[in-house]
Amino acid sequence: MKQFLRLLLVVLVLAAPRPGRAQGKFMTKAGRVSFFSTSILEDIEARNTAAAAVLDLGSGQLAFAVPVKEFAFKRTLMQEHFNENYMESDKYPRATFTGRFSGADAAVLGVPGSHQVQVEGELTLHGVTRHIATAGMLELKSGQLLVFAFFSVAPADYAIEIPLLVRENIAKTVSIRVSLTCDAVGAPPAGSGSSPVTRSNASN
């Protein structure tokens, strides 16, 4: 009977509506993703400001979709090679990530400041899907969710061939930086609502 009560309690807790907006979904279509390759011969950098992402604070799940052609390079030829030869972006127009994060539940995120989370999931690049795990930061601020992550991938893991002649120009692992400002989904725009987060910020 004790067990039954415990189960009932768990079910009730799970089913109970949780307070605040901390459990809602947050989304952006203009996330920033940049990558860096550093080698003795050459530094390569590209930026993308059209990454789409959605994070569900309730379930701890997140998904990203990055249009590969939107990466902008300093050198025009590099950008052409990136799309034509390395990423084959006509064939694989998007890079995606689906996974979950842990370490910051609704209660933790209610506290102002940024909180470290562990992120784990499937990254699909150049048609190859691999499991990756990394650390990230989440922060609820003015009703928006700020997301930050820094991790690296090896082009070789994603079947991206690098010809012998430029092998010294391209790093074996490429660092990727993700920086998003997500708005709450289905909630009034930041500032006009009366959520506890907005108010506590305004009182500062």
Partner: protein, 299 residues
């Protein structure tokens, strides 16, 4: 253990399983949700119709991007059928060196110097239309090309040679379509105007229609061909249509192009109206072009 306990445990597993299943489902949903809210497909420019700014003899619709300079070294040896004495053409060579620079993403300027007739040339190349995909797409890229060439050769003929008489102009509309990531085709209506011709039989204005194609073999190699059809006239009855077959090899910042053609010259004023070689009788000039890109002004 009672039935009651078993059923409880079963219920527990069931709850856990349902939780997992919904989690997995939710992930797909999240991505699906992203797709649903994704922007409607927008117009996208079709890039890299050709690898380089030159195909074989012809210019391609491509320009160096803004702030990029291309240095081209073009080389043509003698004809392959000139025999062992000439080392099958390798004893002779003509050279053209040129710089091309992208002032904007659409407008490029170039200068070149050919050893043939000690010719200097300068050109402007403007990408008037770019092939796009998506709603309201444009099916072809159009690049307008205008060049002038100045022969600096010392003439021995007694005729008074003014500066103007040394100049030739070339005008082209380069119309290209990338049919697939591998196949690109270009058409080139061409007008060559020569200020001075030696005999009345030669034409001051020569009209031609060029065609070129690029078929990729792998990601970094491609077969190329280009051809110029001379419209009937005195030039067409004296000279031959220029034909070239080649291979593009791409490595990092270089593009190597190897080819054979029946034309010795590498600028429009030579290969359109002055081609003499018979391609199918072995009057083939082996040649190559190396293009190196430099970023002068990074974005």
């Amino acid at each position: 253990m009672t039935f009651y306990h078993y059923s409880l445990r079963f219920a527990g597993w069931l709850v856990a399983f349902m939780g997992l299943a919904s989690a997995a489902h939710a992930q797909d949903d999240l991505l699906g949700q992203l797709e649903k809210t994704a922007e409607p497909p927008k117009r996208e420019v079709v890039a890299a119709t050709f690898k380089g700014t030159h195909i074989i003899n012809s210019q391609s619709v491509e320009n160096p991007g803004k702030g990029t300079m291309v240095f081209l070294i073009q080389h043509r040896f003698g004809t392959l059928n000139s025999g062992a004495y000439e080392f099958f053409g390798l004893d002779q060579a003509v050279l053209r060196l040129s710089f091309e620079y992208g002032l904007t993403n659409r407008l490029a300027v170039g200068v070149g110097r050919s050893s043939q007739e000690k010719t200097l040339d300068g050109f402007l190349k403007y990408r008037a239309l770019r092939q796009t995909t998506g709603p309201g797409s444009v099916p072809v890229s159009v690049t307008l090309f205008a060049s002038s060439a100045l022969t600096t050769l010392k003439f021995n003929d007694p005729v008074d040679r003014t500066m103007a008489s040394r100049v030739t102009y070339a005008y082209q509309a380069l119309i290209a379509r990338k049919f697939s990531p591998d196949l690109s085709i270009q058409l080139m209506p061409t007008l060559i105007h020569r200020n001075y011709v030696a005999t009345p039989a030669e034409q001051n204005d020569v009209y031609a229609l060029g065609g070129a194609l690029r078929q990729k073999l792998t990601k970094r190699t491609a077969l190329t061909a280009d051809y110029y059809y001379l419209f009937p006239g005195n030039t067409a009855s004296t000279f031959r249509n220029a034909l070239g077959l080649g291979v593009d090899l791409e490595t990092g910042g270089h593009i190597f192009q190897l080819h054979v053609t029946n034309s010795l010259g590498m600028t429009e004023k030579f290969f359109v109206p002055q081609t003499t070689g018979n391609f199918f009788k072995g009057d083939l000039y082996f040649g190559f072009c190396v293009a190196r890109n430099f970023t002068i002004r990074p974005h």
